[in-house]
């Protein structure tokens, strides 16, 4: 049904005239997010992916690590194996559900680490300025000498395979990026009058940072970090695709793509499935971060 023909859409301004008070910023943001169809679809898809990953032990019809040699590479739609089986005869649906746990963990954690440590370093550099700023920011610049993929693979390649090493290498990729955004936002906010007013009224460095700076810096950093999630997921799965992430027989989307790659001449489409999962997850995060950026009216 096309709702646009029924009534003009309600805007936050309309709400304000009725309620008589301005809507708070976060309520406006939440309200705008709910109005955007792409955001709703992406959000619903992500909830579905997250829940199926969390509930994999309950939902999965088979054991992820036990296969049947006689049932190798069954096609999509095979009886009792809805999405077919892999090169060792393990149920694909089961492994996709379990694989989401690893991929989401390996993709989300580095951005979270980057968000926390990047914000701390960036606010510190931006607020204190001077030598501290030069040391922190020039150090971060050095990491910018490497394209993200190269840096992640180089560190992972030196450290060797494993989930921990993936998390370490991807965190090193994302921290400097967040530092840059946090630093420039801090420098901008610092020069605003209300910070000067807080300082003039005797506020110490720490309360100013906590109440005034952080509150105004978190918006841009949050929006920026949300744009990095899809890259992080693609890279995390990419590292295990190269054999640098989790080790077999663990189910992980990138690793599944790798081990199934040799089977495309036998059964062309089952090997493509883990990639579909990576793609859908990454696209949902991109749509969500687009929506968040528009709703918060922040450009980074």
């Amino acid at each position: 049904m096309d709702t646009s023909t029924l009534a003009p859409p309600i805007t936050p301004a309309d709400v304000e005239t009725v309620v008589g008070a301005p809507m708070s910023y976060w309520r406006t943001v939440a309200w705008r997010l709910r109005q955007d169809p792409a955001t709703i679809v992406a959000g619903a898809l992500l909830l579905l992916i997250a829940f199926s990953a969390i509930l994999a032990p309950v939902l999965a019809p088979y054991d992820p690590n036990v296969g049947s040699i006689r049932l190798r590479l069954a096609p999509v739609g095979a009886p009792s194996h809805l999405l077919g089986t892999d090169e060792q005869g393990r149920d694909m649906l089961t492994r996709l559900l379990w694989g989401g746990r690893m991929t989401l963990l390996a993709g989300l954690t580095p951005v979270l680490v980057g968000f926390v440590f990047g914000t701390m370093l960036g606010v510190l550099a931006g607020y204190v300025g001077g030598v501290t700023n030069t040391v922190i920011m020039r150090t971060m610049d050095v990491f910018y000498a490497f394209p993200a993929v190269l840096l992640a693979i180089a560190i992972s390649g030196s450290l060797g395979p494993g989930l921990w090493n993936t998390l370490i290498s991807l965190s090193v990729v994302f921290i400097p990026r967040v530092v840059r955004v946090a630093e420039s936002a801090t420098v901008q906010v610092k020069s605003l009058e209300f910070v000067a007013a807080a300082r003039a009224s005797g506020s110490g460095v720490w309360p100013i940072m906590r109440h005034h700076l952080l509150a105004n810096v978190l918006g841009p950093v949050l929006v920026f970090s949300s744009t990095q999630v899809s890259l992080s997921i693609i890279l995390a799965a990419g590292l295990s695709f190269l054999g640098l992430g989790v080790t077999p027989p663990a189910a992980e989307w990138g690793l599944m793509l790798n081990t199934l790659r040799g089977s495309i001449y036998v059964n062309a489409w089952v090997p493509a499935l883990p990639g579909v999962a990576i793609f859908l997850t990454s696209m949902a995060f991109n749509l969500l971060s687009d929506g968040l950026r528009d709703a918060m009216e922040i450009r980074v």
Partner: protein, 312 residues
């Protein structure tokens, strides 16, 4: 402006030194003995000590770094532990193949990406804009290594039109191009999406400015307004072009691995699994140096296009 150029050139030196420290540290943080991969299992303790001295692994790390840097500056990247060939030669050969791939993917991605971005901006909110924006978001979301596998499934396995693996110089130019086609498309997807999105938003920003309204009021035709928009968006687009080209050269490890394309990414992957540290160091260092110089070139080109930047 020359002062700016000079300052920018000087700034590149500490960045390069820092990058060299990271490359060196990265490889030496690695667990395990780099020699264990090449020494025979029954090698005596004395043999291992001798090899360690030959490669300089018995010195303290800062000394090793300075010695290494000294050699690197003279163009000596050491010898591969696995093949005993000079690293520089292997990296050069691989770099050429990667450069060819990155150039062809860039041509494809930049051409289509810019066109999509501009079309979408000039049709803002209409069906064409929505369609183009959807293409762009697919481009930035798709795992390119998976896209590569899909291309192989469709064009090599099912249709049998194009080869799936490698790059053969023997078959002549046509055969080389045929091998290049699929990796080029796979590598072009991400920059295509990024370009389309950046160009669209840059063009929209400019279209919203008052001078465009003035141009329209003056009665300027569509073509002229288009030219103004492109001219004003150029510096921003140029930055993204430079970065994306660098990403394709340095970030093609995954695509090169899927297609066994004998470039730097493939070499790096090989070095990682053979634990061939000199090669790994060499590849990363060459790519990082290229990336820093590329960024420098982009910054300088930007000041040529828009001299206001130098004054900031």
């Amino acid at each position: 402006m020359w002062a700016y150029v000079g300052r920018r050139l000087l700034l590149a030196i500490p960045t390069l030194l820092g990058a060299s420290i990271i490359v060196f540290a990265m490889v030496h943080l690695a667990p395990g003995d780099p020699l264990s991969a090449v020494m025979p299992v029954d090698a005596s303790q004395a043999d291992i000590e001798a090899a360690r001295r030959t490669y300089g692994f018995d010195q303290p790390l800062p000394v090793q770094y300075l010695r290494w840097l000294g050699r690197v500056v003279q163009g000596d990247l050491g010898k591969s532990i696995a093949t005993r060939r000079p690293v520089l030669q292997d990296v050069q050969d691989a770099f050429k193949n990667s450069l060819v791939l990155a150039l062809s993917a860039s041509l494809l991605a930049f051409g289509i990406g810019i066109a999509i971005g501009l079309f979408a901006a000039f049709r803002q909110g209409r069906v064409l804009d929505k369609l183009m924006s959807a293409v762009a978001i697919v481009g930035v979301s798709v795992p390119h290594y998976w896209a590569g596998i899909i291309l192989i499934i469709v064009f090599s396995v099912q249709l049998n039109w194009l080869p799936a693996m490698g790059a053969s110089a023997e078959g002549g130019a046509v055969e080389y191009l045929r091998h290049m086609a699929l990796p080029t498309v796979a590598l072009a997807l991400i920059p295509l999406g990024v370009l389309a999105r950046v160009v669209r938003s840059a063009a929209l920003d400019i279209l919203a400015q008052e001078f465009v309204l003035a141009l329209r009021a003056k009665g300027l035709g569509r073509g002229m307004i288009f030219a103004h928009v492109v001219r004003n968006a150029a510096p921003q687009i140029l930055t993204v072009l430079g970065l994306q080209f660098g990403f394709q050269l340095g970030g093609s490890v995954l695509v090169e691995t899927v297609f066994s394309w004998p470039g730097t990414g493939y070499l790096m992957n090989l070095a990682i699994f053979q634990r061939d540290l000199p090669v790994l160091q060499g590849v990363i260092l060459v790519l990082a140096t290229f990336f820093v110089l590329l960024n420098l070139a982009v910054d300088l080109a930007q000041t040529l296009v828009d001299p206001r930047i130098a004054r900031h």
